[in-house]
Amino acid sequence: MSIRILLADDHKIMRDGLKSLVEKETDITVIGEAETGKTTVSMAQKLSPNIVIMDISMPDLNGIEATRKIIKTNPNVKIVALSAHADQHFIREMMTAGASAYLLKDTAYEELIRAIREVMKGKKYLSPDIARGVLDAYVKLARPLSANPAFVVLTDREREVLQMIAEGKSTKEIAGEIELSVKTIETHRRNIMEKLDLHSIAELTKYAIREGVTSVDA
């Protein structure tokens, strides 16, 4: 079945450009075009598109508010934001309003198609230039929350050893893998246990899984 798209942008040339590119995809159809936020909302209600490609700066109702309204009445509609702004503020507002993807008008067309396909699978998509900024902002926010002792108390080496212990490797195997002596690995293990106040390999394993040092299916 074909992917039905509503184009929302106040610049006609942008809609024309998008349309001329998208129409070459055999499984994508542009079912409507809107040049204001309000028209976008009413057309989204009327036409129930799979995807709205949404500009942010539009007259009468901006793309962020339009997204909020559309998602509220029809949460199945996926919103792909296509904006000239790389500003964190816009990205955050757009994504919290319920958009599934955020791309810049300066990204390649191929990237837009990739985003459309990912979003149709129920995934979220940020173009790499956007994702970089989002990650930076996330790290800034997340750092003070990191109270996980495994990432605070333990050294990188100790964390590495802990992960291997949790994965069921023997001291000898670990020593071989990271090219240290058995004795050094034993010292590391003792230090880890002391720092975390844990007293057996089973406890260490449980701890490592709980704190995300290793995954269960490792």
Partner: protein
């Protein structure tokens, strides 16, 4: 070299005409202020090159490029626009334009761009990324 100029702003047409006619071997053969008129003149007058805005009233710039090229597949087209988003540039190039220059840099880039695409070489102006 005979050039057809398509732009809905009289002021822009005057400026571009002056820039083009200042070159000995270039001349504006005719101009048009809508896409429809541009398509028609490109067909009737068969210029060597078309310089056009893509933001046009009526039939849009991309449709105009496609129609001009379908009437004359060898027609060399240079587009002028203030929109420089990569997706739009791709759309314009895929429609059949060979050059893309920002209106803001036309003063320096219009003539070099015309010469480049007249020689069959793609020209993307400053701030335009393919």
């Amino acid at each position: 070299m005979n050039i057809l100029l398509i732009d809905d702003h009289a002021e822009t047409r005057r400026e571009m005409t002056a820039l083009i006619n200042a070159e000995k071997d270039l001349r504006v053969l005719a101009d048009a202020d809508t896409g429809e008129e541009g398509v028609l003149k490109a067909y009737e007058l068969n210029p060597d090159l078309v310089v056009m805005d893509i933001y046009l009233p009526g039939i849009n710039g991309i449709e105009a490029i496609k129609t001009i090229r379908s009437n004359n597949p060898d027609m060399k087209i240079l587009t002028l626009s203030n929109h420089s988003g990569r997706i739009l540039v791709e759309a314009v190039l895929k429609a059949g334009a060979l050059g893309y220059v920002r209106k803001g840099s036309a003063f320096e880039e219009l003539v070099p761009a015309i010469r480049s695409i007249a020689a069959g070489k793609q020209y993307l102006g400053k701030g335009i990324n393919d």
